[in-house]
Subunit: 481 residues, 2 copies
């Protein structure tokens, strides 16, 4: 049995706002600057857990964490011309210090390629120091003119993990792109987030990149959200900033770079994708609280106190076994009110402990995701909870992947593609000849965005939906965030 | 035996710049924005370890971590009039988004009292929710017009831990001030940083506070640096932002607040205070690498390889016991060159492992702080290293406290005070009647800054150095950063 997903899928925006506020994840829309929200304590812990997963995977693959200044001088940001064109209209500028006008305008970093390359130019001299992999987790800023949305389209993106790497050759950088993709797959698997991996078409690359590979997921309303990107920058930035290294053969040359990023959207997708009409269901891998104990009052005060004591004992047992547990000791709320609160917070397991459990030295375990319940002996609780947490993690992943796959369709007719997107959203694969002209036409005729094409060769025995020439691959089309 | 401290004390600025750069802690002065530096990977790890200590102490005392937006609208910042006066000339202003002028100027947060109080006003309604203790670790910005210095006087302070608390009564807030002071003492003890705790005089309080308590330490050059402050804000901010809560007696009233901060300067002091002419000596409690193994080559290649193998084995043994160890496997540098590098990085213990150690299954342990050495059997290495790390931690603390105490003098004559400060710096306590007029006169005549007076009552059987009335306490005077 599962809780319905009507509100969740049909009024997703409303559902998401409700969960963020009521679940005390993120306060959005009330801080007096547009597009900027506040991480509340519970949401902050979820964010920290997700950051930990990202950090561990990066650290264990030789990435080194650094921290660069927020501000980038205008002349530096203008050094790579495609780059500044891509960001120019989105940059917040600091122009005053106290009452003085600054000589040079300072950008709030929209991303840090030029800042980091500037220092790499001082730090890295020889191929012997390569590959070099830096990353930082910082706020980045975009003066968004589109409608902003909590965690999804912000003017301050507070959780921007940006990695920047340097390599001797183009191929080394390409191998790094592949490593980054593998790391991102692991991150999303850990978060139980399903994804589609595409190479973005040339007209939608990161400003300054040779290739952009992107992870997209499908949100409850069927719209597609980009959740991670990996860029092969080639020598564009090293050349623009005159950054050379000595190569193995003794010559001096511009090194090849990559960059890759993940943002608050990873957190948004964890909250959104596993939800239902009662709230989110957080994967145990990142849930700040894995188990909540709700004591069920007895008929008399003494019994109620004994239940409370037993509840706390069980909870401590779990905490000692590194399973973060909280006992809801509030005496004013009913168990039903407590269920409601902890469901909006997405806690994966609830223990209900009342006089019956106390009398029989048992515990009643309830899964948040499929409502299955188990009554187990006290001494079996720790093992059973561990087992159930693992099952929830797996089941969330499975359900999310199935849901994603069910929303990808194939259409070899542009009208059909348009209809699917308008009625069901999701992703539509259309056969495509590979030309930019046809790609742009597909966007225009479907009134949707092109995500790109699969990285692996995908044989398509069909004709391009626009020019009717033989298709080389499919182009993925979707309504996007 | 100890390494000399001549460069360290006589040319401290130069020493500090050299250590930050050569030790690869922090790259300063080369990033193209004045007053903003780059945390390099090694320095970043030290910073993370220090942040961990701060986080653990705050989390375990009921503080909740949050994250607020960087930007504060001008009208909000102006709500508390003393506050804005204190910061007005130091604020960086964002005035443009893309090519558009913003309607309202946005400040890069210089501190977050008004931002946080704005949201507390939405979150907190009743005394039942109090005390509430929030904190965040963020960058804050000050448009400093004084000469900037790495980690010490910055325009971007990247490691600003700011706590903000809310209480029903003045006394509750005062108790929170005391808790904060105890937490800060623990933090500095953990970092082996000695301090003097003073209440700042009324003319040097935090802008908007009723009371400011400050931790100061003495740097190698004898100048005093503020390393932590705790403020009783009373109802100043809650009143300015019309933030009321329901009290126990049912009435509505402005709650009382405190705030307290620690910054990059805590990290600067850890690097600076325990140093000598070879570099810093990092306390084992926060050293990113606790032990470095330097293999000493044998006379032939085979012997050298065996030494390397043995070195790695020892290092792994330490790592398995949670003692972070690195083996310097570079084959181009001599052991002497390696000693130099790891000393500038401040690694507290060096193991020298050569053919002799290999042959006898021993390890040669060398302390960074006092050069003491020990030869121990392989199976005793882990325990001995643990023991030595503890000793180093204690000895660094002791030495630093002794040095601080030796630099505090008493002078009941203003000329004498001035002479001491001009020749030896440090801190001079002068008897003081308690009046602002005399306090300001003391600053003027000594050409120094007043730190404040002891928190505990300090009986002084002497006359005020200015007005010759009976002294109430001592005023601490120093040349400051």
């Amino acid at each position: 049995m599962q809780i319905t997903r009507d509100k969740w899928s049909k009024n997703f925006s409303e559902w998401f706002d409700w969960v963020l506020r009521e679940g005390e994840f993120y306060d959005y829309g009330r801080y007096p600057v547009k597009g900027m929200g506040v991480w509340m304590p519970y949401g902050f812990k979820l964010r920290q857990n997700i950051i930990s997963i990202i950090r561990n995977l990066l650290d264990s693959t030789g990435h080194e964490e650094v921290l660069f200044p927020l501000l980038i001088p205008e002349d530096l940001l203008r050094r790579e011309s495609t780059h500044i064109k891509g960001f120019e209209e989105e940059v917040f500028w600091v122009t005053k210090g106290g009452s003085e006008d600054l000589d040079v305008k300072l950008a709030l970093r929209p991303t840090s390629e030029v800042a980091i390359t500037t220092m790499e130019n001082l730090w890295l001299k020889s191929y012997k120091q390569l590959p070099k992999k830096y990353y930082q987790i910082v706020s980045v800023f975009r003066y968004e003119t589109k409608a902003t949305r909590p965690m999804i389209r912000l003017r301050e993106i507070t959780t921007f993990k940006e990695a920047h790497t340097v390599h001797e050759t183009y191929d080394d950088a390409q191998r790094q792109v592949e490593e980054a993709i593998e790391i991102y797959k692991k991150i999303f698997n850990n978060l139980a987030i399903p994804y589609v991996l595409s190479e973005r078409p040339e007209w939608d690359r990161f400003a300054g990149a040779l290739h952009t590979y992107a992870f997209d997921t499908i949100m409850p309303d069927g719209k597609v959200m980009q959740i991670g990107t990996v860029h092969h920058l080639g020598q564009n930035f090293s050349r623009a900033l005159d950054f050379k290294i000595q190569k193995k053969d003794g010559s001096l040359d511009y090194p090849h770079q990559t960059s890759y990023g993940i943002s608050d959207r990873a957190i948004a997708s964890v909250i959104a994708i596993h939800g239902d009409d009662h709230g989110p269901i957080l994967p145990p891998s990142v849930a700040p609280i894995k188990v909540v104990v709700v004591p069920i009052p007895a008929k008399n005060e003494e019994g109620t106190q004994q239940v409370m004591k037993y509840s706390i004992e069980i909870c401590e047992m779990l905490n000692k076994n590194n399973i973060t547990c909280v006992t809801d000791q509030d005496t004013e709320k009913t168990p039903g009110e407590k269920f409601y609160i902890w469901e909006i917070k997405g806690v994966p397991i609830r223990l209900e402990i009342g006089p019956r459990e106390l009398a029989s030295s048992t515990v009643f375990i309830k899964r948040r995701d499929n409502l299955k319940s188990y009554t187990v002996k006290k001494e079996e609780v720790v093992n059973k909870v561990k087992e159930v947490l693992n099952e929830i993690q797996e089941d969330l992943r499975k359900r999310a992947w199935e849901s994603l796959k069910s929303r990808i369709e194939y259409a070899n007719d542009i009208e059909k593609a348009k209809n699917i997107l308008e009625n069901n959203s999701g992703i539509v694969d259309v056969p495509w000849c590979g030309s930019k002209e046809c790609g742009l036409k597909i966007e225009e005729l479907t009134n949707a965005r092109v995500l790109g094409y699969p990285i692996e060769d995908r044989k398509v025995n069909d004709k391009c939906v626009i020019c009717k020439m033989n298709a080389k691959t499919v182009l993925r089309v979707a309504k996007t965030y």
